[in-house]
Symmetry: C2
Subunit: 329 residues, 2 copies
Amino acid sequence: MKDIGIHKTIQIIARANNILILGHVNPDGDCIGSMTALSLGLKSIGKEVAVWSGEPLPLKYRFMKINFSEACQESLNDFDVIIVVDTAVETRIGAKLNLTDIKIPVLAIDHHIASENHFTYIHADQSQSATGCIIFDILKSLNVKITKSIAEAIYTAIITDTGCFSYSNTNYRTFEITLELLKSGINTSEITSIIYDSHSPEYIRILGASLKTLALISDGVAAIMYVSSEMIQKEGLKSFDTEDFVNYPRSIMSVKVACMITESPDSDILRVSFRSKTDDYDVSKLAKLFNGGGHKCAAGAKIKKPLAEFIPKLKKTIEDFLKKENNKS
Amino acid sequence: MKDIGIHKTIQIIARANNILILGHVNPDGDCIGSMTALSLGLKSIGKEVAVWSGEPLPLKYRFMKINFSEACQESLNDFDVIIVVDTAVETRIGAKLNLTDIKIPVLAIDHHIASENHFTYIHADQSQSATGCIIFDILKSLNVKITKSIAEAIYTAIITDTGCFSYSNTNYRTFEITLELLKSGINTSEITSIIYDSHSPEYIRILGASLKTLALISDGVAAIMYVSSEMIQKEGLKSFDTEDFVNYPRSIMSVKVACMITESPDSDILRVSFRSKTDDYDVSKLAKLFNGGGHKCAAGAKIKKPLAEFIPKLKKTIEDFLKKENNKS
């Protein structure tokens, strides 16, 4: 589906009076920041706004000034428009709603390519580093005053999706918007601390155990690490979020391809994350070998195999993959 | 000694033709970035510039376009002015020079308060987040074109001294200068990767072992971690840089005071780092209890005691310190 562009997006929002805002499953900083900024901004110019979420917010994002209403399938058609932020994939919509029978338009706003879907409109601006940046542009066009609360939400969106200005999606516009946000008097280091200094002692201990599993492959060009269900259970937990762990093998100077395996204590599925630091190695190809998918620099797969059996297989696959890719060049 | 201000600083530099640039011991990203930017900038407007360093640069900073000349005590008086960047403390000057007998003026440029010293001039602008930002302002005032190489050096200075825009010294001017730097076409994520993805496998493994030593004190308000000489020796190393390790106990949500102990394999001295996340606890007071010093939020001490004996003593001291501070409020 074609991107409708920012002007049409603004037109659709400007004409609506009663707006429902939805996010995606497992809402992150960009999703919650975008929902918060958009709802506060639209309310400030007199719109009726409801925000629905299918799940409670992670603790670290609760400082944002967002108010959720109760989701209600029956009242869906009472809105003028539904805006879904930070995803253009229908199946990833957060609030558990059935959108097939609704008669009102649904607009998806995202900064990633839209795949096959049935939204009425899509605005997917890939030049922006976060959905929060698109929301900022929309609010400015609607003459919304960027208050401190709105700026805090957009700053959160930006730092979570750019890894605090470190990822390659960080660009001139990212810093330009940031500079505008600072004018509202936000305390950037306080927000950064809320987002990044929010670990539990268990996180630190399991990370420690995981780092000790580091293994280098092909003279250090690749590295793998894992978290076993035993490590998670040892801390008295049922599951554990290891999303950021893959950044550690990735942070080794010689490493071009990093890989992190997470064994779940409550299922026999292994989650594998692949990261590439260079264009020379496309890790989506590696993920495909395990029936997974993703992008060139970030991909993943789910594997049904015991951890001890999978690790040597993964090492061999990565070795072969690197040899093959090196022979190409 | 009084800060001479930016205008007088520019005047002194503008009048000099033959300039020597020095940095500080253990040069970091701000020091090397400032030396690089200043030397490239001044050369571009026709100045004769020499840069002396007392030690080789850490590997991760070698991408910067800096050329060192050989230090020579005898030729010191041939320069019109000596500029010391990123320190206003004489004893911390990098190149091992005896400045007492020299007849030419010495100008120190830093973004921290100047302590007792014998520099001819000091420009210490505490409003700036890095010395690199002051150098940027100086070069702009001297009508230097900010080339890609100069911008890369100043960006390095900024991200190393602000923790990639996360510390509380990050301000409007930091982002404003960053935006100017981006105009020269620098690749910010590439620079960030060079600086932050430069770890060794040993770093990751020792960090893992250290994280497993995490101990919480006073219901998680404080946390300590250590690196033993055994951990370092196990990886076949003689010494190890644990500078960033204290950020891990600090990153725990409940923690207000974090502490990291490093045992040296080649001496019987323990290095202890203290960090505070809040104004409520001044860790320089904690450091003083062990004859150390520092600031409210970052302090340290050196202790001659076996690790196993020191840990329980430190825990008790922190518990008592927290009780005392809590009773005050």
